[in-house]
């Protein structure tokens, strides 16, 4: 659905007659063309995951990161323009470091997200600058209240707190899948654990990925949970492997169930 800006889309400091800033919307399109990034807030931690399409067969695997540690208690996953994302992460690191230097305590999650959002928003106001073409998923742990949280900053500079969020190519089907997970039960004890979260995210990514149509991809995952000592760390590689195997099997099993249901229907004729 390509909307014509007809002259109101040349600068991010211009509103259109119907109250939109097209440059920001185009920036969001740039994010939508890139690999899917997912985040879930589980009972005992936050899990982040990014699908990295292997653009070039000669690329060394497991290089070219999409998930970065901003401080021991915070991590950011980016999707969209990777170079824009790196700039945002660099700023996030500065903010976290300055906060700790001034106030002697780790930056609270809301403050970090607000500062990143303010930075991203700044680039939507100036005629000479272009908006960031990245969405940043922020997993963070508040050392004072002992609570973990997941937030996302979009190219427009808005930030919200989520149970589960998705950005990038497969975000629509991903959101549907995320809604099926136990993330927001009335009784917190019924919610998913971070370990479960890793498996489910691997499954969702593989579900979305269509063999033959999309490029081969790598999965990058990180978590900030009780098991990681409330520090942002990469999920151990062997656990990712285990999760991917489980995911592939779970998808196969689901497909068989669908097929056998079809067979039953035929036999009833």
């Amino acid at each position: 659905m390509a909307s014509s800006g007809s002259g109101y889309d040349l600068s991010s400091s211009t509103f259109s007659p119907d109250g939109r800033i097209f440059q920001i919307e185009y920036a969001s399109k740039a994010v939508e063309n890139a690999g899917t990034a997912l985040g879930v807030k589980c009972r005992d931690g936050v899990v982040l995951c990014v699908e990295k399409p292997m653009l070039n067969k000669m690329l060394l695997p497991n290089t070219s990161r999409r998930i970065y540690t901003v401080d021991t208690n915070s991590g950011v996953a980016i999707t969209g323009f990777v170079s824009d994302g790196r700039q945002v992460v660099s700023r996030a690191r500065e903010e976290a470091s300055n906060y700790e230097e001034t106030y002697g305590t780790k930056i609270p999650p809301t403050t970090l997200a607000d500062r990143i959002a303010a930075y991203v928003h700044y680039f939507t106001l100036h005629g000479s600058l272009r908006p960031f073409g990245t969405s940043s998923l922020i997993a963070s742990y508040d050392t004072e209240t002992k609570e973990h949280s997941l937030r996302m900053v979009e190219p427009s500079g808005v930030t919200y707190e989520y149970f589960g969020c998705a950005a990038g190519k497969g975000r629509q089907p991903a959101k549907t899948e995320l809604e099926k997970l136990s993330l927001n039960k009335p009784d917190a004890e019924d919610n998913m654990t971070a370990r479960e979260g890793v498996k489910q995210l691997a499954r969702i990514i593989h579900l979305l990925h269509e063999e033959g149509k999309d490029k081969p991809f790598e999965l990058e995952m990180s978590w900030l949970c009780e098991e990681s000592g409330w520090e942002h760390k990469g999920v151990p590689r062997d656990y990712i492997k285990e999760a991917v195997e489980w995911a592939k099997k779970a998808i196969e099993d689901a497909e068989e169930d669908d097929e056998s249901e079809d067979e039953d229907e035929e036999m009833q004729d």
Binding site: T102, Y103, G104, T105, P108, T111, D114, E144
Partner: protein
């Protein structure tokens, strides 16, 4: 009298006392006794009330216990001007931080801010501060920030010129997990003893009891001190 002809090397004394040496002419000193003791559920802060310029007592009922935020207080010693300026800055930064983060700052943050100012301006300041208060993370806590700008979290803290006379007393009487009344009476007793021996400390004893539910300010008049000329 000039003793130069007797002494093997030349020693000249400028006539200033050790406490007032670094003060500028006419500057007020809170040569002082201050202390803070945590207890089960909060912190007790206490101070004397004498402000002197040399031998003249400029204010005999001053308030050396200042509020930095709802449940964060500090005791001031050293130059009155310096400590008042520091207190004002920290109060300002803390209130701005509370607005940005949406929560009350912790005592650790207040102490860190105070220490940052003291350390970075150490050449121009003469300030010894004790920051104490209650927050939901650490409960009652006390931080001692002496002259150079170091910041140390302590089980209890004493400071000011009068504190030297009561180290032994406080060391022997202090216990972990005191009750509120025990902590309050220890503060009053210790400061009384210091006031009895330190010329730069005197007047009344001001105390603040800081807990989760709020702050209680009190003072002990100079003729009702637990120890001192009136009680001998």
């Amino acid at each position: 009298m000039n003793y130069q002809s007797y002494a093997p090397s030349t020693y000249e004394h400028d006539g200033k006392s050790a406490e007032t040496r670094n003060l500028k002419p006419g500057e007020l000193s809170t040569g002082t006794t201050i202390m803070a003791i945590p207890f089960e559920g909060g912190v007790v802060l206490g101070a004397d009330s004498r402000v002197s310029t040399g031998t003249y007592v400029a204010n005999r009922v001053s308030d050396k216990v200042a509020q930095l935020h709802d449940s964060i207080w500090c005791c001031r010693s050293g130059s009155a001007a310096d400590t008042q300026a520091l207190t004002d800055y920290v109060r300002h930064y803390l209130s701005q931080l509370a607005v940005e983060t949406g929560r009350a700052p912790t005592v650790k943050v207040a102490a860190h801010l105070m220490r940052k100012l003291c350390y970075e301006n150490k050449d121009n300041l003469m300030a010894g501060v004790i920051v104490g208060g209650w927050d939901p993370v650490e409960k009652g806590s006390v931080y001692n920030i002496p002259l150079g700008g170091s910041c140390i979290k302590m089980p209890f803290a004493i400071g000011g010129s009068g504190s030297t006379y009561i180290y032994g007393l406080v060391d022997s009487e202090f216990k972990e997990a005191l009750s509120k009344d025990e902590a309050l009476s220890l503060v009053k007793k210790s400061i009384s003893h210091a006031m009895a021996r330190d010329g730069s400390s005197g007047g009344i004893i001001r105390t603040v009891v800081v807990t989760e539910s709020g702050n209680e300010r009190e003072y002990v008049p100079g003729d009702q001190l637990p120890y001192g000329p009136a009680g001998w």
